[in-house]
Symmetry: C2
Subunit: 717 residues, 2 copies
């Protein structure tokens, strides 16, 4: 074999020295508005395969037929010394969003990204917790490179000599307009493999391209209702008694709580992990889990990293199905070997899922390099170390979710590494980085790439920052307090305790609205949190401010580009504009149409930039004209399926309104068999000019309705 191989190698080395060779591209329609091209010899281990996607073909059909959104002759692939070089044309003023979970920038045009699974290191360079190789254009199309290699993306930086729209030539000696980064009309991607699958998604808007992407990936996740309530994590060596006390403390403070996360100490060993309960802290896990659920309606989430401790009885069995390198001495399971998957499934099912655990926090599947397996690791399935790294978090999400799903139980957990195809996976990304502004930018960016992100609250140097962080996290996919190490509680700062409680209660009141937003994610592909760039008919020119030449800090006068990254939409109708600690005022960009203050109903503006003063009491929220916001009373936990709640419908503005509110049992997958219903609310003015609200339901499967009493509040009066 070795000899044949050597001969092949020597033959093969000849074409490597030739010029770049064009590779044919054939675009095949794979769903309505979605095309695929298999270029060269695509790799066996890609991203969508790891995510295990099931396209929602019917929902894609409802978005309608569309033309291929790019000029095909300008979509080019070449083979360069064993690597695929892709290029796509860019138009003037076209903006590009996505390309990984970025924390500081939104429009990626003009940037270079090495998409590489890693912890976020403070720079948007492609190394991030979700290095998703998908971008959506402001022109209304999306492109996915379905490759688990480390991709380099030149998002409109390269200057080809054969460019159709070459940049102007300046003489830096004499031309003031000389630009360190001249205009580029091309998107270029280097795939370090001899083949790749590319998907193109059509859209009449950036949102529609995102919808197609999410629907193609199975539709967005619909979390269990409890997953949208408040969550807290407890110190690593907490015992069952400590957890009971924490729950009691939350009750005492009337602070909402739906699930508790146990950190490493629930296990006998951690870093690497045994995945087994430590009996001195949890003597009867199943009984404790039941007690928590029955008496307090509290679910439990388990931290783990997926590296098996040598102390485990399963260690010898896994060695054959693990990588050549360990992480902190723990084996790295090759999740492409059925034996490894089956072993993990049996351990996790027996120890965690059967006793009633509701979800996981999957840690350290991202980086950083110094402890993750190196790129020289080999795995028994033949997957490369790099492919393994890009896919590992995705595979763990997909596998663990499937183990819950086999029991018809929805889960909702945390993960530190994700990638393309994750839309339907019930995990929210978190990390160790901790910049509040950047956390909100990440929230915006998550909406382009089919992932969820939580700007978790971990600690704070001041009461003000504590409040600002708590306010923002309550308008995110997971309202998480993760201050177990620091010890801060929601009520730690008495001067803002009331405001912190208020915003947590507001989150609880808005659960029907938030759940509806997730239903949209699932059935229509619209993400629950949305960057402003995904708002209807919204285009932000993103001014570039030229910065002064400075021989020390900016020797090539690089311009600074502006993005909208400090405000976002939650669902169709709410605009969230969080304050950051230290701010006395802020600007809010309102899209076209009338917008109203959520708290007062007052008119706020229309297609304009408003400036508002900071108050501690509220996180600024604006509501679209005619919107109906469904709310329940503030309770200390999310509604359970057997319960019946009154519903308040708040109508805003001067326009008539309609709301279709999705509902189901909130915890099983029966909705996939049609076991769901809608409430149809409408608000119109009667003949006397008075607002009138009405409600109808469709409930074909005769579900027991969660809401039985409807009150309309007209904020516009």
């Amino acid at each position: 074999m070795n000899r044949t191989f050597a001969i092949l190698l020597s033959i093969f080395s000849v074409p490597f020295l030739l010029h770049a060779q064009k590779l044919p591209i054939t675009w095949t329609k794979v769903a309505t508005g979605v095309w695929k091209a298999s270029i060269g010899q695509p790799q066996k281990f890609d991203l969508l395969g790891a995510a295990g996607i099931h396209p929602q073909t019917k929902a894609l059909q409802t978005l309608g037929e569309a033309d291929f959104p790019l000029p095909k002759v300008e979509c080019i692939a070449e083979l360069q010394q064993g690597k695929v070089y892709l290029r796509f044309p860019l138009e003037k003023e076209e903006q590009l969003f996505g390309l990984g979970l970025n924390f500081q920038t939104v429009n990626q045009r003009g940037r270079i990204l090495d998409l590489h699974m890693d912890h976020y290191g403070g720079t948007d360079n492609g190394r991030t917790h979700a290095p998703v190789p998908f971008y959506v254009s402001s022109k209304g199309y999306g492109v996915l490179i379905n490759s688990a290699e480390y991709l380099t993306v030149y998002a409109g930086t390269g200057l080809r000599t054969d460019s159709k729209h070459p940049p102007k030539i300046y003489n830096r000696n004499s031309d003031k307009d000389w630009d360190a980064q001249p205009y580029s009309d091309v998107m270029e991607i280097l795939v370090p493999a001899n083949g790749v699958e590319v998907y193109v998604f059509a859209g009449n808007s950036p949102m529609q391209a995102v919808q197609r992407y999410n629907l193609f990936n199975g539709g967005g996740v619909l979390p269990p209702k409890w997953g949208l309530g408040f969550t807290q994590r407890v110190p690593t060596l907490s015992t069952a008694a400590d957890v009971r006390k924490e729950v009691a403390d939350f009750k005492l403070h009337h602070f909402p709580l739906d699930f508790i996360g146990l950190e490493p100490g629930w296990q006998t060993k951690s870093y690497p992990c045994s995945f087994e309960w430590e009996p001195s802290r949890f003597s009867d896990p199943a009984a404790f889990i039941k007690e928590m659920k029955d008496s307090n309606s509290i679910r439990l989430n388990l931290w783990l990293n997926p590296y098996l401790s040598p102390s485990s009885q399963h260690y010898p069995q896994l060695t054959k199905y693990a990588g050549t390198h360990t992480v902190w001495n723990g084996l790295v399971p090759d999740l492409n070997m059925p034996q490894a998957v089956n072993l993990y499934k049996s351990i996790f099912t027996k120890n965690h899922i059967n006793p009633g655990i509701s979800g996981y926090k999957i840690d350290e599947v991202d980086g950083y390099d110094n402890w993750l397996w190196p790129d020289v690791t080999s795995f028994p399935s033949g997957i490369s170390a790099m492919q393994m790294r890009q896919r590992f978090g995705l595979q763990l999400q997909s596998l663990t979710a499937s183990w819950f799903k086999e029991k018809n139980i929805r889960t909702y957990g945390l993960v530190r590494g994700s990638n393309a195809g994750a839309s339907s996976l019930p995990y929210v990304i978190y990390d160790d980085y901790y910049n509040h502004r950047d956390f909100i930018t990440a929230l915006c960016n998550s909406s382009f790439i089919g992932v969820l992100w939580t700007p978790e609250v971990r600690s704070s140097p001041t009461a003000e920052e504590w409040l600002r962080r708590m306010q923002a996290v309550c308008f995110s996919p997971m309202a998480m307090l993760n201050a177990w190490s620091d010890g801060t509680k929601p009520w730690t700062y008495p001067e803002v305790e009331q405001q912190v409680t208020d915003v947590a209660n507001l989150r609880m009141q808005l659960l029907p609205y938030i759940y509806n937003a997730f239903a949209q994610y699932h059935f229509e592909g619209k993400p629950p949190v949305r960057a402003m760039n995904l708002a209807d008919s919204f285009y932000y020119a993103g001014e570039a401010t030229s910065a002064a030449l400075n021989s020390v800090t900016n020797p090539y006068p690089l311009a600074i580009k502006q993005d909208i990254k400090d405000q976002f939409l939650l669902g169709d109708d709410l605009l969230v504009a969080p304050f950051f600690a230290g701010e006395q005022k802020r600007k809010v960009i309102l899209p076209k149409g009338n917008w109203y203050n959520f708290y007062t109903g007052a008119y706020a503006g229309n297609g304009e930039v408003i400036e508002i003063p900071a108050t501690l009491d509220h996180i600024p929220l604006y509501v679209r004209d005619g919107a109906i916001i469904p709310m329940i009373p503030a309770m200390e936990r999310a509604p359970r399926k057997e319960e019946v709640w009154p519903l308040e419908l708040r109508h805003f503005g001067a326009a008539a309104g309609k709301l279709s509110l999705y509902d189901d049992d909130g915890e099983s997958f029966d909705y996939e068999k049609g076991r769901y219903m809608h409430y149809q609310f409408s608000v119109i003015k009667d003949a006397n000019g008075k607002w009138q609200g009405s409600v109808t339901t469709d409930n074909p499967q005769q579900l027991s309705p969660q809401y039985n009493h409807f009150t309309f509040t007209f904020m516009g009066q």
Copy 2:
């Protein structure tokens, strides 16, 4: 061809999915104490080929025979999916130096580096101006990976399941000694190509391994004497008259000056460049160059970046021999095509070298990514964009140096990108980064990897920092002021003008010593500036300080390692311990043996750490016991070959001393034909206990001696 290629590809894809395959390694002795292994199918375009090295085989012989310094069976290569995985064993306590021009760390053990040509971005991650894939071990051997690919180096971080020295297993739940980075016994390197050449250099010390590396690369550069004098650069749009004025200003202030650098505006066009003189600023370049040299003994250096402007008449001719992408609209010459080289040679010779220019400042051959050609660029020679990037600065150095050498003229210039094999190339690396401490760390690190670095002075917020930077740059390979943009002059801060002048004068006085250090670099391979880790019998344990766990900034309690990076040796006998702005005192680590204060001759210590108070007057310098430091009077320019100077010999300490002082014409390559001489100085105590100095010369070629009068000063009295 395309069809054959596709068939080959499809056959080839099978072995890619197999496990890692062992590649045989055969170590062949290529020089005394130097071995090479060709593993797999090494690439055509490597680093040493770009540098154009000529091993100094005789000098290597004088270092003596040596055994292969590593256990051969533990040096392993595997082919993993078309990539070569190399690994070498590491011993406990072994330290690793080199691996690129790092700015913040010295010992690289426990670090991961992606060796990638780039500007330095503030983190030692392998992206730097000289990503040299060479490391030297504290055990006394060196390893060079002669590859122009982007290499990933795991310098003792990987934990193999088959490790012979596995780390201890801890339970993070309960073991305080749990370490985020467990002990690793392996050096691992990923070469993204199917073959690679590896060189191993033996040594009885780290210094000897470095010597072998430098001698194998042709021996270190011997600069022209004027290159070691002081240099200043003038504002970009300076005219001939402006340059005359600058020279006059230096004369007026009696500040030394040997060469002046012209920034972009000497050309008709820059960014991209025409390489042609702008007649409105320099109407008769040859006459001006001659005037400068004849009347003031001033040489001229020309800034350029190597990207050809579309305005150039040569542009159409170069298009066929350039890359598919431009840099700022300028063509990137494929320096592997003789046509491109010949074109550049003819332009540079005609426009610059023939008229008398003395050297270049080669800018922007490093990065950053946003304006360099992207990795998707293809070049007519078939070199990949990545190989081109790793080699480009090296090739430009080698080519331009050869154009001067053809005229038997030494040059000495500046470059922003270098790599392995550069030891003999007459260029000093500089950059845009500007942290004084990190500049000194880079100075230390340059000594491991056969490159030169200047901690150039660009600007300063305070007089103190200005002085501190000027003091340090005077003890570096190029005493450069580069404040053309900022406008600061050596005399700008009156409160430190005297001290700045003093240290510049001291540099000029020490030129015989510094030139001798460079002669050692050339003939013996010992770098002129040396990290402490290269000092004889010197070993620094480099304590690791454990840092506190912090959920926000240090969630995995990573220890902080200590290095000696704020002091260095210049030549054999001087220890330089610069102060940084704001310091009131500092520690100096003195190696074993008695050390003496340069300024007073007083005993300073022996194998110990001393603490010294800051004074503005002097940069702390210590001299080895028995050392003889040769000095000339302070003059405003370096000695020219026709001149005769008196020489002072300063003897330090209590031990008898010897000094062999190299000399030659200081500007031609005649030394390669043996046209050099040595002065042999010795100092001994006579029968009365009085110091007596003596001098003999060897001057086989009857050179006209530069020094004719010798005075001994005994600092130990």
